[in-house]
């Protein structure tokens, strides 16, 4: 084993001599660093850095030597390196000529100060406004493309649209069905449990019909699809952006909105109402089984009660909302995909953002619909 790396100072005839000993390698850099900081550096003298006893040297070691040399020179010493072995010379020369890099000081993040914090709030506000502006712009662009396509329907890419319908609709059926079924079970059970106290447990059926058909079916499905397909849209388009595939489309004379966005929007606008209808059916099935199991309402009684409790509009109110939600989810997903810049990290961040935004917008839109329907008296 080589002796441990260290540096020893001694006063000699020709001035101060600092003797470096041992292996000056990255592994011992921490020890050396402490030792060097503890060293009492002389001022205005002749100082010799003696490397005779150095076993091995690497970049970190060379850097520490040269750092010491700089520190000594800064205190007015005349510094000389002595006994530099031939094999070390190129490394020291390399670090001396290129490696005198100063570490960049890490600035305190501005939002850690009060002023910075307030400024950050302002920045976020402006960013939100900018994003809204650009999102509305994207919405406008898509609307124009949709209008153009309605004039010339042949421009809709049928295969791509059908593929999207399969991916967003057919493939989502198991999860949407299962969750709706379970929600039906839960609503029926909780409703029956509470209404039993009034002896009105039969109205659990009305509760189930109205809540599932009007709100829960469509909202639940839209949220699942936002998480499942909205995120996929962002990730797909974002990855294409990273790979410059979007640029390639542009240069090939293809319009990315027409090629990528319209099939996704149309695919989802066609599928979401169907999915919602399916979710409604599964929810009712779950509710029917649950009311039958807990309060003994037979299926024919259930259907009779349901027919008296709801109108066909109850169903339509839910389903009418679906295409609007679908358009919102698809647009937000695609829009965030186009916002991806450069890195893989950006894809991840915007995918999260797209899901959160899509769900947010869906719920806001649902509230708007509620106000509208109540104004219309439906």
């Amino acid at each position: 084993m080589a002796p441990p790396a260290t540096i020893v100072a001694s006063q000699e005839a020709g001035g101060v001599v600092l003797r470096a000993e041992g292996d000056w390698l990255v592994g011992s850099a921490a020890t050396l660093d402490r030792r060097l900081h503890a060293l009492d550096l002389p001022s205005d003298q002749q100082v010799t850095l003696d490397l005779a006893a150095v076993g091995r040297l690497d970049t970190a070691g060379a850097w520490l030597l040269l750092r010491t040399e700089h520190a000594l020179a800064a205190r007015g010493n005349r510094v000389a390196l002595a006994n530099v072995r031939n094999s070390f010379a190129p490394l020291i020369a390399q670090v001396r000529s290129r490696g005198a890099g100063r570490p960049v000081p890490h600035p305190i993040p501005p939002h850690h100060t009060l002023k910075g914090f307030i400024a950050r709030i302002g920045e976020i506000m402006i960013m939100v406004l900018r994003r809204t502006y650009s999102m509305v712009g994207f919405g406008g662009l898509v609307s124009i493309r949709v209008a153009e396509m309605l004039v010339r329907p042949s421009r809709l890419r049928l295969t791509a649209t059908l593929v999207q319908m399969e991916k967003t609709g057919l493939d989502a059926m198991p999860i949407v069905g299962l969750l709706s079924f379970l929600i039906g079970v839960v609503v029926a059970y909780q409703g029956a449990d509470q209404l039993r106290k009034f002896g009105a447990e039969i109205y659990a059926v009305n509760l189930l019909g109205v809540s599932i058909l009007r709100e829960l079916g469509v909202l639940l499905t839209a949220i699942i699809i936002a998480g499942r397909s909205g995120s996929a849209f962002t990730a797909q388009i974002g990855t294409m952006q990273v790979n410059q595939e979007i640029d390639a489309l542009h240069t090939l004379g293809l319009d990315p909105v027409e090629v990528l966005v319209l099939p996704r929007i149309f695919g989802l606008v066609f599928t979401l109402p169907l999915l919602v209808f399916y979710a409604d059916a599964m929810g009712m099935l779950g509710g029917a089984l649950m009311t039958w199991a807990t309060i003994g309402i037979s299926i024919p009684t259930f259907l009779d009660q349901l027919r008296s409790g709801i109108t066909e509009w109850t169903l339509w109110v839910g389903i009418i909302k679906a295409p609007f939600f679908a358009a919102v989810i698809a647009m937000v997903g695609c829009y965030e995909g186009f916002n991806v810049t450069g890195s893989a990290e950006s894809v991840g961040r915007l995918t999260t953002q797209s899901v959160v935004e899509a769900i947010f917008v869906v719920i806001v839109a649902d509230a708007v619909f509620s106000i509208m329907f109540s104004a219309l008296g439906i």
Partner: protein, 259 residues
């Protein structure tokens, strides 16, 4: 246990790599000596990068033995694997920098993991490496996505050099660089090799790089390997090797080679 064979730092014996039906390497033997620059060339799909990935243990071959610095790469236990990984540095094609970290933080990843040291010293060493690979100081706080391709490669090189490795693996270091940048990169590798006493295993397409810095060249052809100095390979009459070195680009890179 490591048993350092004197002069040979990488030794490959009877390497067979297959992808499904396709055999990429069919019994390759290869020795890399300490302190040399070995260039690996071959047509697209001839398994140059696969060879590199196999040697550094990212891919298990179908057969063969690989020995690096006295360690049997294919049968490493965890502590040996860690010890070995600190003694080599790998530069991937596009730098493979961690995109969520700044350049300085990228360089500090291996330091932080393997050699505990105070934060300021780590920053100093990172800054030193950044300067050594010829990047401006301000690069330290930039993220990889803010750098050009050439700068990313240099930053990747700085990370590969973080622990002062003995062997440097480079996967197409000059691909995608402009000729000036590529020549500078060649010069950088040559300087670093001289000053840090590196052994370099270099996969490349770039004939200029071969002529500029390689001591020996390994050609992957017909799933086999041929190794020799450039002069030996220039005299080789295998059709692919002849076409490679004596084609228009080969002649341009090495004027007089056809005489």
């Amino acid at each position: 246990m490591p048993s350092d064979a004197e002069d040979i730092v990488i030794s490959v014996r009877g390497l067979v790599s297959r992808f499904g039906e396709q055999t990429v390497h069919d019994g390759i033997d290869l020795d890399v000596h300490r302190g040399e620059v070995l260039g690996v060339v071959g047509g697209s799909g001839s398994g140059k990068s696969v060879l590199l990935r196999t040697i550094v243990g990212l891919r298990r071959p179908q057969a063969g033995d690989i020995n690096v610095l006295g360690y049997d790469v294919l049968h490493l236990d965890d502590s040996d694997a860690q010890a070995l990984e600190q003694r080599w540095g790998v530069l991937f094609q596009d730098g493979a920098l961690f995109s969520s970290l700044t350049v300085a933080q990228n360089i500090e990843v291996p330091l932080r993991e393997h050699v505990p040291m105070p934060e300021p010293l780590m920053d100093e060493i990172a800054a030193c490496k950044i300067a050594i690979v010829g990047l401006p100081e301000a690069t330290a706080d930039k993220f990889p996505s803010q750098l050009s391709g050439g700068m990313r490669k240099r930053a990747g090189l700085a990370r590969a050099l973080a622990l002062d490795p003995e062997i440097l693996f480079l996967d197409e270091p000059t691909a995608g660089l402009d000729p000036i940048g590529a020549a500078e990169f060649d010069q950088l590798i040559r300087d670093l090799k001289a000053s840090l006493d590196l052994t370099v295993f270099l996969v490349t397409h770039d004939l200029d790089t071969l002529f500029a810095i390689c001591d020996r060249v390994a050609v992957l052809v017909d799933s086999k390997i041929r190794i020799g100095t450039l002069d030996q390979l220039l005299a080789d009459d295998h059709p692919w090797i002849h076409a490679y070195f004596h084609g228009p680009r080969g002649r341009a890179a090495h004027p007089g080679s056809d005489s």
